[in-house]
Symmetry: C2
Subunit: 284 residues, 2 copies
């Protein structure tokens, strides 16, 4: 992927898929080269602020709610009693905030390799960072792959892998070694979820994830598609895996009676995210 | 909206929303100025052929199945016994072809104002035009608004409005006069469906459609969102209205046992399309 800008537009080009997406910008607000990646923040005309990492759109003010709500509330309402949650990646703190809306949750660990993602989010996406000082929030800047390898077995209820694309620092997050460690770290009945790219562009990646997650011991797996306008194709997905638990059997009544506001997620959307398009049904 | 091309890319710019979408092209295959609009056909690197009308992406070979399957199978499986269908617009013949897969259907009328859309589709999207010679297909090039005004009351089971955006020739298709005539032309138990733009960009349009459809007599209305990568935001919708019929009550068993292949639509996706995102629930 590569990016091109002129005075008025930020544009992301998905070279391998021959498509591009652009947002009209008012100006560049920040640019930081960290030891891990190149981060830019733009102000856009109509999508609020925009974070770009290594030329790829990460999030905008306007539409990040779709991704963050699906990455958090689907796994948490799929778990019988989610208490301990770890987010690998997620440095913008949006997923953390959504997880902390659940009253059952006692601890959320956020392990992002790059502190600058969080510092820039605090400044340019403060509405995502309102829970950073919650006593249940544990924000750590560390290598998620190493962290998971070192974590205590059967110590977490939920693992959320909220990463960038499977190139660069996030590549190892799509590999069998990492999945094995995730399986080990989850308690019985635990739920794993990982962003899994576009159903239209990345079916091979999604298939490989299912196979590898089952190979390391997860009893069942499911890919939930959802809209995400600023990502390639505008159609994104998250892949779930259960450790000895049926993913279809979510706490529907609790989701219907949820004690917090959302903009996309609700019990009906949760149920609907288990319907697979015909061309994805081979995932089982 | 406006379009810009260079040697390698076709780009559509959604000025009012400050976003753009592009496809890498191999070359321009055709360009026609008709009495109604400007039509271009491109060959793309990864999306097959691309039809553009007045600078707006209409369809590509790769992803049109999403739109065409939702615009046809949702209304047809929502009807108890769909026999007579009329498509307003739909000149590419993709919706026509999907409707004719239903064995109960005895007649499908396709009323597009611009013959050139169909002629270009026959040449550049032949896979959408395989049913054009079906004896049940009645392809007419006429003004859909006038056609509907002149049509016999209570003569059709299904009306599908497969139009361009609500500017230019299609503007009148989003107005109360047209909806009144559609209501009149449908039999009792009939179903109306119209493409209704992006849930993220066009909620005001969608709300207005619901209000107007109910004002002219439809007993209930629903907007079904679905992915459509080449349209603005990659997230599109169709709005349904029932004439004295509950839209939720579709022929689920028949959809499960459908006698033809699809790539997106199935009974689960149909059911899922009735789940409204939280921010759309005000539509009721």
């Amino acid at each position: 992927m590569s990016a091109a800008q002129n005075n008025q537009w930020f544009q992301e080009i998905f070279s391998s898929e021959g498509s591009s997406f652009g947002l009209k910008i008012k100006g560049k607000l920040a640019e930081v080269q960290t030891p891990y990646q190149h981060i830019e923040i733009y102000g856009t005309e109509t999508f609020g602020n925009l974070m770009v990492i290594d030329g790829c759109v990460m999030l905008t003010t306007r539409d990040n709610f779709l991704y963050h709500e699906m990455m958090s509330h689907v796994p948490l309402f799929s778990h019988a009693n989610p208490q301990k949650v770890v987010i690998i990646g997620g440095g913008d703190c949006g997923t953390l905030q959504e997880c902390l809306r659940h009253r059952s949750v006692t601890e959320v660990w956020q392990i992002d390799i790059d502190e600058q993602v969080t510092r820039l989010s605090e400044k340019y996406f403060p509405e995502l960072c309102t829970s950073n000082n919650d006593p249940r929030a544990h924000i750590s800047f560390d290598d998620g792959i190493k962290w998971m390898k070192a974590a205590k077995p059967e110590s977490f209820d939920i693992i959320i892998v909220d990463s960038t694309d499977p190139v660069g620092p996030a590549e190892g997050l799509f590999k069998q070694d990492f999945f094995e460690n995730c399986f080990k770290v989850l308690k019985k009945g635990g739920i794993f979820i990982q962003q899994s790219e576009s159903p239209l562009y990345h079916m091979q990646l999604i298939k490989n994830m299912h196979e590898t997650l089952r190979a390391v011991g997860f009893s069942n797996t499911h890919t939930a598609p959802f809209p995400q306008p600023v990502y390639p194709t505008g159609w994104w997905s998250a892949t779930l895996a259960g450790k000895g638990v049926d993913l279809q059997d979510f706490r529907e009544k609790d989701a219907q009676q949820k004690t917090f506001k959302t903009r996309y997620y609700n019990a009906g959307i949760h149920r609907a995210s288990f319907a697979l398009p015909e061309f994805m049904r081979e995932l089982g």
